[in-house]
Symmetry: C2
Subunit: 289 residues, 2 copies
């Protein structure tokens, strides 16, 4: 079977689209992530006819650039214990430079080198990822409780699935990153894992695969032997209690994806060979309805 | 008449597409350019049903970020006197951060705020702008003649017009910036004016409008009273002799656009109100076949 979109015969492409539902892959932006391995795997799967939407992060590089520009990163912690980047207008510029600029461009480049016709998009493009901006946030900043008003952060509530289908149906592989688009059209920082969950739900994806620099959900972080191999939807709330830092948002994303109709979410390891195929086959933490 | 793509009636959109050929607008990246005025004008025109492809630069911001990161910009001068940015891998990262990251994101944001459903693209996306990388360049660097091998620079020879038509036909306004995609899939720096010329030729654009921080082509730069109001294609070679610095590439772009079948190229002023409409109506330097 020819790869999706490589055929000039539209009706064959249609059959492939119906036959193979899309997989949404989120790859984190932490240190230690091997983007070459991830892109090798995307290329192998796309060439076999598996449509993929890739969503990526960039937190580690954003921290590095913020430091180099003399604007060290700051984080807000909500009363519930979730952390997010304090994103004032200057930080949003730095964020866009790293996520939509360097990271997205270099991932699209890796895929083009491997013969995948990737198209990079931020959430502003075609209002791909849209939602309300939080106009003021009560949070703990550097240990003190404050009301933050110049934070450009929000939550994705609507995905332009039409734009993604248009690209997929024409043989392109979308590569997506924040920022997203507020309902007023402003650039806003949103959580990448939860954005990927919304994308997977909007596309009725076969699977949502969330890759990071750990083997999956660990009962006792960072003890990798405490990996939880599988979990049901109704066990996710309890999982929030032992998920550390960034894993909390991934658990929340998994819960939102499954509530949105995605049959399976897998937390996989981005540091190994064929990270996506491994996760597709159940290596990591498999979460199902 | 409803705005392009705002109508849900596909056949009306088709009629509009045939009735109104696209205009390609290139807006420079020099200091003094007013992007708010340019985006106001794009919004007004798109809402009247005029399809627009916007191509932008980012040279000034790239210089600023390079300085801030302790990697001051360097320029190569060819034996013919054309200058281009010396783009080693680290410079290409900075370039992508500014052009595809900050500038592209903020222009798309401006358009989304004005109700235009913009989609940002670099030349790597869908191999939109493709051409060979110059593997070694003989040039004058900082006064000395050298052979440069780690320069990621090239020339656009092929435009993926299909991707642009797909977006335009579905109501999106493409916002394009370098880097481009080498034939091997690498990110390469290309000249934005000449890339815009290739885009205009590939789309059989009605006009190519090149906006910068001067009123047009000046016989005696920077004397604005020496503006040349109109010029024929066969006068462009002579124009190269008095065009200063960055204007040389614009003259070259104009010549390539007209050779590629674009009927009219206008050099307009990006600092005034309705800069695109003014140029459409012949204000600036009008170059025709």
């Amino acid at each position: 079977m020819s790869a999706l979109g490589w055929s000039s015969l539209g009706y064959i492409r249609e059959v492939e689209m119906t036959a193979r539902p899309v997989i949404v892959v989120k790859v984190g932006g932490s240190a230690g992530i091997n983007y070459d391995l991830v892109c090798d795997d995307v290329a192998a799967l796309v060439k076999e006819g598996q449509p993929i939407v890739l969503v990526h992060g960039g937190s580690h590089e954003t921290n590095l650039l913020s430091e180099r520009l003399g604007k060290p990163p700051r984080f807000l912690t909500s009363p519930q214990g979730f952390t997010s980047r304090y994103t004032d207008p200057e930080t949003l510029d730095i964020f866009a430079m790293v996520y939509a600029g360097k990271m997205n461009t270099r991932i699209v480049e890796r895929l083009q080198k491997r013969g995948v016709n990737a198209v990079g998009l931020s959430g502003l493009d075609g209002r791909l990822l849209e939602g309300p901006r939080k106009t003021s946030v009560r949070a703990v900043v550097d240990g003190r409780q404050v009301l933050v008003r110049d934070d450009y952060t929000g939550k994705v509530e609507r995905v332009n699935a039409g734009l993604l289908r248009l690209l997929l149906d024409n043989g392109y592989t979308p590569v997506i990153s924040p920022p997203a688009c507020s309902t007023e059209g402003e650039a806003i920082n949103v959580d990448g894992d939860r954005a990927a969950a919304m994308i997977a739900a909007a596309l009725s994806a076969r699977q949502l695969i969330i890759l990071s620099n750990v083997p999956g959900l660990l009962r006792n972080f960072p003890d990798e032997s405490s990996l939880i191999p599988s979990l049901k939807y109704d066990g996710l709330e309890q999982a929030l209690s032992f998920a550390e830092g960034r894993m909390k948002k991934k658990v929340l994303g998994a819960s939102e994806a499954i509530a949105g109709g995605v049959a399976q979410v897998v937390f996989g390891d981005a540091r190994i060979g064929r990270p996506i195929l491994n996760a597709m086959q159940g290596k990591g933490t498999v979460i199902s309805a």
